[in-house]
Amino acid sequence: MQQPSANGIAPAPKAPGRLGVAYVTLAALTGVLMLGSLAMVFGYAPQAQLAAGGIVQKIFYFHVPSAYVMYVGVAVCCVASIVYLITRKDTWDAVALAGAEMACVFCLIVLITGPLWARRAWGVYWVWDARLTTTLLCGLVFIAYLVLRAFGTDGEAEKRFAAALGIFGAVDAPFVHWSVQRWRGQHPTVITSRGGGLDPDMKTTLLVCFVAFTAFAVLLLWTRIRAELDKQRVARLRLEIAAHGLGEDG
C-alpha cells in the first residue's frame, strides 16, 4: 500500500512514461500486418464470381474479421461485466468499457461494409435477413451501453447498470453467429459449417486478415484499458485532493 505524503494524500501513481517495448512492438507488428493484409487483398486474392459481387467481394476480407473482432469485444465486455458485478473492482469496469467500445466500432464497420457489398451482390443495400437484423440489434445495444457511460456519472449504480447491459448485449451474439444456419437467409455461409467453398488463395488471404485483426484487437484493448485506468486514477486523485482541501488555491 502506498504511504501517504506529509499532507495525508497517497502519492499519485506515476504517470505512464514511455510506451513499453511490448506495446511498441505490438503496434509495429499490427501496422505491418494490416498493410500486408491490404496488399494481399488487392494484390494476391483472386476476384470472385459476379454473383458474389465480383471485385466488390474483396470487402469480405475485412468485413468478416471485423465481425470476429466485434464478437471478441462483446465477449470481453460480457466476461468483464460479470466479474465486475462479482468483485466490484473498477479495473474490470474499465475492461468492460474497452470491450464495448471495440464491439461498437467494429459492428459499425460490419454494418457499413456489408450493405456496400450487398448492393453489388444482392442488388439492394439492406434486407431484413436474420443475421443482418441481429447484428443491427447487437450494435444498438452496445451504442446504448456507450451512451449510458458517456452521459451517466461514474457512480456505482451506473457501472452496475452498464454491466447488466453489457451482459444483455452479449446474449444477442450467439444469435448473430448461428442465425444464418438456423434461419437460412441471403447472407453468405461460406466459412460456416454449411459452407466451405472458398478458393485456397482466398482462404490464405482471409487467414492473414484474421491474424492482423487479432493483433489490432489486442492493441486496441490494451490502449483503451490503459486510458480508462488512467482516467480512474485521475478521478481518485481529484477526490483525495478535494477531501484534503488542496485545490489550486488551497
Binding site: 504511504q3 506529509a6 454449411r194 483503451r224 486510458a227 477531501a243
Partner: protein, 155 residues
C-alpha cells in the same frame, strides 16, 4: 331439435373434410415417386449457390453496378473508422495523462510545503497533521471530509 340436427350436420361436414384431406395426403398418386427429387434435394438457386461458394473466375466480367465506388467506399469507411477511433483514444489518453501529471505535481508541491512548514505553524484547514505519529492509511480515496457543524446547520 332442429338446432341439434343442424349442429350434427355441421360436425359431419367438418369430419368429412378432415378425413378427405387425410386420405388425399396418403394417396400414392400424389406422393412423390421414389426417384423424384424431394424439396431438400432440389438444385440450389443462384442465391443459395452464391451464398455457399466463392469461385475463382478468369478474365473480365460484365458488371451492372459500378464496383469502384462501393469498394473504395467500404475500405475508406474501414480506415476512417479505425484511425478515427485510434485518434480519439490517443487524444483522450494524452489529456488524461497531462491531467495526471499536473495533479501529481500539485500533490508533490503541497507535500514539500507541508514538510518545510515549521511545527509551530498550524496546518491548513482540512489537511491532517503532517507530524502526526501515526499517519492515516493511504487509501483515503473513499474518505469524505468530515462535515463541520456549520455546514450541518442551516444558516
Amino acid at each position: 331439435m332442429s338446432k341439434l340436427v343442424r349442429a350434427m350436420v355441421f360436425l359431419a361436414a367438418v369430419a368429412a373434410v378432415v378425413v378427405s384431406s387425410d386420405v388425399r395426403a396418403q394417396d400414392p398418386a400424389e406422393a412423390p415417386a421414389p426417384g423424384k427429387a424431394q424439396p431438400d434435394d432440389r438444385h440450389m438457386s443462384p442465391a443459395e449457390a452464391r451464398a455457399q461458394q466463392f469461385q475463382r473466375v478468369e478474365g473480365p466480367q460484365t458488371e451492372a453496378i459500378a464496383a469502384g465506388p462501393l469498394l473504395v467506399g467500404a475500405y475508406g469507411a474501414i480506415w476512417v473508422l479505425l484511425f478515427g477511433y485510434l485518434f480519439l483514444v490517443a487524444r483522450r489518453q494524452a489529456a488524461t495523462r497531462a491531467e495526471l501529471v499536473s495533479l501529481e505535481k500539485l500533490v508533490a508541491g503541497k507535500a514539500r510545503a507541508a514538510d518545510a512548514r515549521p511545527a509551530s505553524e498550524p496546518a491548513p484547514a482540512g489537511a491532517p497533521d503532517a507530524n502526526a505519529s501515526e499517519p492515516s492509511s493511504g487509501a483515503t480515496a473513499s474518505k469524505e471530509p468530515e462535515p463541520s457543524a456549520a455546514t450541518d446547520e442551516p444558516s
